[in-house]
């Protein structure tokens, strides 16, 4: 009774969190025009590809009578081969993402989930299969998958800097990793090399807060990670700015190098900017790779 009640309560709370995210993601996704990924060769699909003369072995059912009636030869109407991609998403659920430097800014986690879900919606509308890296949610088609994704992302993870999930990646699939990539770089490197080994290519989307880019702090300060695991005290925060920005630049550079080495693409998004731009970039990056 008790357990059922709490479960019910929790699920209600979760459910109440879902629709806004979903709605916003749908809204965002609605701004991007869709297109199927044609394979540029004949196969199973909806779009016309070419007429070819009927050959032995073709079923009579396949003959296009409208074309064939114009002459003596019989033609078969071929369609463009359209294939659905499997796209695996990973959105950082770590505590470090739950940060916003100002009251008017969304947290990084919020923006990352929004981008992830909007991408998923776009891809599902495009007929792709979308899922999570790892074993929890393998790629599937259909709108139900969107709801499952939203549900999966409505839970926060405890650890401060979550490592990218790189298990159970389907070979030659595509992947999207959305995170701030402020945690240990080794994990990212490991994940990307593993993905490259399996022929998985994709996109790294770095979501940063404007505060993390500008470092507008002064005076005696104790900096603490959101999870509380790491802290650093300084007497003059203003003095650190130069060096911090250097390190940040180096981190981005390292990520870029990694991407070049593995054939991935690196995108940078600030929570102060419009989500739509990031979504467009993300979609084009994926689209360009598929076509």
């Amino acid at each position: 009774m008790n357990a059922a009640l709490t479960l019910r309560e929790r699920s209600e709370a979760e459910a109440s969190r879902l629709p806004p995210l979903l709605a916003r993601a749908e809204h965002l996704a609605g701004t991007v025009l869709l297109g199927d990924h044609g394979r540029r060769r004949s196969g199973l699909g909806d779009d016309f590809w070419q007429y070819r003369p009927a050959q032995i072995g073709d079923s009579r059912r396949m003959i296009d009578h409208r074309r064939s009636a114009r002459g003596d030869q019989q033609f078969v109407r071929e369609r463009e081969w359209q294939i659905a991609q499997s796209i695996m998403l990973w959105v950082d659920q770590g505590a470090s993402m739950r940060f916003a430097s100002g009251p008017s800014l969304p947290t990084k986690a919020d923006r990352a989930r929004l981008l992830g879900l909007a991408t998923a919606i776009l891809l599902v509308r495009g007929g792709e299969r979308v899922g999570l890296t790892g074993t929890t949610l393998p790629p599937r088609r259909g709108n139900a998958q969107i709801v499952r994704l939203a549900q999966a992302w409505s839970e926060d993870a405890a650890p401060d800097y979550a490592p990218p999930e790189h298990r159970a990646m389907i070979p030659h699939a595509r992947a999207v990793f959305i995170s701030d990539f402020l945690g240990p770089l080794d994990e990212v490197e490991l994940a990307l090399t593993k993905a490259a080994d399996r022929g998985v290519r994709g996109v790294l989307m770095q979501v940063l807060d404007p505060g993390e880019e500008a470092f507008p702090y002064q005076g005696r300060t104790i900096f603490e990670s959101v999870g509380g695991t790491v802290r650093h005290e300084t007497l003059k925060a203003g003095e650190l700015r130069e060096r911090y920005l250097n390190r940040m630049a180096r981190r981005k550079d390292a990520l870029l190098q990694l991407c070049h080495a593995t054939g991935w693409q690196l995108g940078l998004h600030h929570t102060g900017d419009s989500a739509q731009m990031a979504l467009l970039w993300l979609y084009r990056a994926l689209d360009g790779g598929t076509r």
Binding site: R220, F223, E239
Partner: protein, 920 residues
């Protein structure tokens, strides 16, 4: 007391605390502010970064400065700083403050009191006993603590006189009784008086004397006199100085009885002159109203002179010999005299015996020849008391034996019998003009119009004294006007009639001017001592030292001679005195007085009256310190990142520092006003009956929808209005359903409703009983309506006429059904003079919106719709019912259109179109 640059300190040693400030600076500087805790995911990038300097971060310099300033303000504040400390009192021992306290110092009285107060404060600080002695109201000096005197300062007032000899004696006696020595500060009014030196030497015998007096000269107005048709005004000043201009105001009551400045005139003091004069020629009417003259901007009894009888309206008795003649008005012998005197004089009506006891100023006898002996004696007595008897000749006088053989007491000359006629049809010669006036004639200087001719006159006997008595003559030298003195008064004879029969003189402006010169219209009778002998005058209003009049209360009466001769003082206060019907003004400064400036021996220091007030600054500085510390709290909190706390602190401090004001009611009012004014809003009056209110609201909603769909009026959601609480001015139309049990609005609500109706609002009263009752008191609702509407300002009503603009404001309507059809609808009645013009279908009706529409057809019920727009209540039966609802809606549209557009559709411009639609 230590004094630095105008600021003194009562406890200067506390200033040593300022030396600790540098130490405090160092200490505060070394203590770093508390660290701020910040969440920062990118802290991983910071790990391992070392601070460059090993020195700890410092408190920001501005925060340090703030704290230093606060500390300094506290230290200086505790040291007791005083701005402008007074330093001009030396010595110790008792201090006597001597005040002239006469009218001459009244205009600077406030600054004198300020200076005395400053001296008292200083004396109190050095513990000197003080006494104050006023020369105009001497009391034996009693030395008391200065604080005790400070409380009594506001009670001191200047007196409207200068110290008299009696008072000087009192002062000298009082000073003799004081034991021991004392210093004296003498606040002089700059005017000297008898006994000035005696007091000065008596004071100098007891100790040092310092004199304080202002540099500005004292000015005074001398009593106004009336001479040669103008008021003579003189202002004197105590010392000859550079040229100056003063404004003299003539004050009096206007016809409405309000005291106001009737005339303002500028007087110019020549450089070096002590006297300035001006003549003020005013219309007699205005002059008679003047009650006082005063120097503008000077508040003292000397700058005021009161006007008494001498400037007031004269009382004139007009007596004609032919009173019983019922002639035309223009033939009345007194007509021209009346025309001349009406603006300036009051008339006494009645026969001579009745008029005489009223003691008029002037008696005019027009062609009166015979007087009874009693009248004759009475008139002679009256003239000898100062009356002016003005006689005009005429047929009767010419025919009588008056003054034929010997000079009549009441005629200036002997008369020859019969008179003469020149220039007539039966006579030789031409009508005569006037000869120029002699230099000693009162008429000297008047212009003589050429068209003034005399055709008939009575002739004077050539007596030896005739030449002296003629004041106007004809061109042939025969006298026209003669005059003789009789006692204090005079007798004047015009040798022609007062009307235009004998001469054209009464028709001319010269006649008016001559009467004015003769002081018939007005005169200044200067009173003689003999006249006042043995009279007792009762004070009515007295002047205070500042020149303000106040009621005399029960002051004793004074002897008439004293009024003329005695110096003003406590027993003879300046002011207005009355005896019988006469009024006499006693002014502070009499006619022959001058103002002699006080002179002081060289060994008496004389100081000016400039006073710089002491201002203790301690409280100010401590308050400043408090404010700085408050700012420090907020700044420190902001620095350590607890800005939320800082906001809370600001809030709390704001609450502490400022008195919070409850604004909830205002906010509610504002919301209501916003809701009611952002769009056009229809409103109904809340009756307290929930069902009726609901239907009314639904009805308003229905009407609003109808308007929205059919017209360009697009109302927002309707509002129920509480008459007691809500502002009505926002609504063009109020629907007021009547229920028998609704409460009577309060008086305030009625005031609001009346203001609403006056300012163009309209109320639609609906008794909602059209099915069972006609209009009137025949139903409970009707009676209630009468009760409710009784205090309202409702004009006369009539049933809607066929050409009322309501019938064509939007739709063409003949009747105005609601849920019921029947009772008549009443609106403001058309003006009674509205008439239909031939060929026009409509009258030009009243030019405004009817403030009320009264009916009983329960319109709201017919209009009412629910939220979905479905009609709420059934109307009639079947299609006919729907038609009735439609007509009800049309009535609503017409009503709102009428409210919003007024009589626009009443304009005859629309007639052709309307006629076309009416099919006529």
């Amino acid at each position: 007391m230590t004094v630095l640059a105008g600021i003194g300190f009562t406890a200067p040693w506390v200033l040593l605390g300022l030396l600790t400030l540098p130490i405090l600076w160092l200490v505060l500087r070394a203590v770093p502010p508390a660290p701020i805790r910040r969440l920062f995911p990118a802290v991983t990038l910071l790990l391992g970064l070392k601070d460059d300097e090993s020195v700890s971060d410092r408190t920001p310099w501005w925060l340090l400065l703030l704290r230093m300033l606060a500390a300094a303000a506290i230290i200086i504040g505790l040291a007791g700083p005083v701005l402008n400390p007074s330093r001009d009192q030396q010595g110790s021992g008792p201090l006597l403050l001597v005040l002239d306290a006469s009218w001459a110092g009244a205009s600077r009285w406030t600054s004198t009191l300020d200076q005395i107060d400053a001296q008292l404060v200083e004396a109190g600080r050095s513990g000197r006993p003080v006494s104050i002695l006023r020369l105009t109201e001497p009391e034996p000096p009693v030395f008391q603590a200065a604080e005790a005197w400070r409380g009594r300062l506001p009670g001191l007032a200047p007196m409207p006189w200068q110290p008299s000899e009696l008072q000087i004696d009192q002062v000298l006696q009082a000073l003799e009784q004081v034991e021991g020595g004392f210093d004296t500060n003498w606040f002089s009014d700059k005017i000297t008086f008898a006994g000035h030196e005696a007091i000065l030497s008596a004071l100098q015998a007891r100790g040092g004397v310092t004199v304080y007096q202002s540099a500005a000269p004292v000015m005074a107005v001398l009593p106004a006199s009336y001479k040669d048709g103008a008021i003579q005004l003189t202002v004197i000043r105590s010392a000859p100085g550079p040229a100056a201009t003063v404004n003299l105001l003539a004050m009096g009551r206007d016809p409405a009885g309000t005291m106001r400045t009737l005339q303002s005139t500028a007087l110019v003091f020549e450089s070096g002159a002590t006297r300035a004069e001006v003549e003020l020629a005013l219309p007699s009417e205005l002059r008679a109203r003047i009650t006082r003259f005063e120097i503008e901007g000077t508040r003292s009894a000397g700058a005021v002179t009161l006007a008494d009888d001498s400037l007031r309206r004269r009382e004139v008795a007009l007596i004609a010999g032919t009173r019983n003649r019922e002639g035309l008005e223009l033939l009345s012998p007194l007509h021209y005299l009346t025309q001349v005197l009406v603006p300036t004089a009051d008339f006494l009506d009645g026969a001579l015996p009745d008029v005489l006891p009223a003691n008029p100023d002037v008696i005019v006898l027009a062609d009166v020849a015979t007087l009874s002996p009693a009248e004759q004696d009475g008139l002679v007595d009256w003239v000898e008391q100062g009356g002016l008897l003005l006689r005009f000749a005429g047929p009767r006088m010419a025919a009588s034996d008056l003054g034929r053989d010997k000079e009549d007491a009441l005629l200036p000359v002997r008369l020859r019998s019969g008179g003469r006629s020149v220039g007539g049809a039966m006579s030789w010669g031409e009508a005569k003009g006037l000869a120029p006036f002699d230099e000693d004639s009162p008429f000297y200087g008047l212009g003589i119009p050429a068209d003034v001719v005399v055709s008939t006159q009575v002739m004077a006997q050539p007596d030896p004294n005739l030449a002296d008595r003629v004041i106007a003559a004809l061109s042939d030298g025969t006298p026209l006007v003669t005059r003789k003195a009789l006692g204090l008064g005079q007798v004047v004879l015009f040798h022609v009639t007062a009307d235009a029969e004998w001469s054209s003189l009464p028709l001319s402006g010269l006649f008016v001017e001559m009467l004015d010169r003769l002081a018939v219209a007005s005169a200044a009778k200067t009173r003689q001592e003999a006249q006042l002998q043995g009279t007792t005058w009762e004070p009515i209003q007295i002047l205070d030292g500042f020149g303000a009049l106040s009621d005399a209360g029960n002051l004793a009466g004074v002897d008439g001679v004293d009024l003329l001769t005695g110096p003003v003082g406590p027993d003879l206060r300046p002011g207005l005195y009355e005896s019988g019907k006469q009024k006499l003004a006693l002014n502070t400064v009499s006619g022959d007085a001058g103002l002699t400036p006080a002179t002081w021996p060289a060994n008496v220091p004389v100081k000016g009256q400039e006073v710089s007030t002491e201002t203790p600054l301690g409280g100010l500085l401590l308050g400043l310190a408090l404010l700085l510390l408050t700012a420090d709290v907020v700044a420190s909190l902001a620095l350590s990142g607890r800005l939320g706390l800082a906001r809370a602190a600001t809030l709390v401090l704001g609450v502490l520092l400022a008195v919070p004001q409850a604004q909830a009611q205002d906010a509610a009012d504002t919301d209501f006003a916003l809701a009611a004014t952002q769009e056009l809003v229809l409103a109904h009056v809340l009756t307290g009956n929930a069902q009726v209110d609901d239907v009314a609201l639904a009805g308003m909603r229905g009407l609003a929808q109808t308007l929205y769909f059919r017209t360009s009026v697009e109302p927002a959601d309707p509002i129920g209005v509480d008459l007691e609480r809500d502002e009505l001015a926002f609504f063009p139309l109020l629907y007021w359903p009547i229920t028998p049990d609704q409460p009577q609005p309060s008086a305030a609500a009625y005031a609001k409703l009346n203001a609403y109706l006056r300012s163009g609002g309209m109320i639609l009263f609906d008794t909602r009983d059209g099915d069972i009752a006609g209009f009137g008191a025949s139903s409970p609702n009707g009676r209630k309506l009468q009760n409710l509407a009784a205090p309202l300002n409702i004009p006369a009503l009539e049933p809607v006429p066929r050409d009322h603009v309501l019938t064509r404001a939007f739709y063409l309507l003949q009747d105005f059904p609601g849920r019921y059809v029947g009772t008549e609808v009443w609106v403001e009645a058309a003006p009674p003079d509205a008439e239909q013009i031939e060929g026009m279908p409509f009258r030009n009706l009243n030019d405004n919106v009817t403030p009320v529409v009264i009916g009983g057809n329960d319109w709201a019920a017919a209009w009412a719709v629910d939220r979905n727009g479905q009609a709420l209540l059934p109307v009639g039966r079947g299609y006919a019912g729907e038609r009735q609802r439609e007509l009800a809606n049309r009535f609503g549209v017409n009503l709102v259109m009428h409210v919003l557009t007024g009589n626009y559709k009443s304009d005859q411009v629309h007639v052709p179109a309307l006629l076309d639609r009416l099919g006529q």
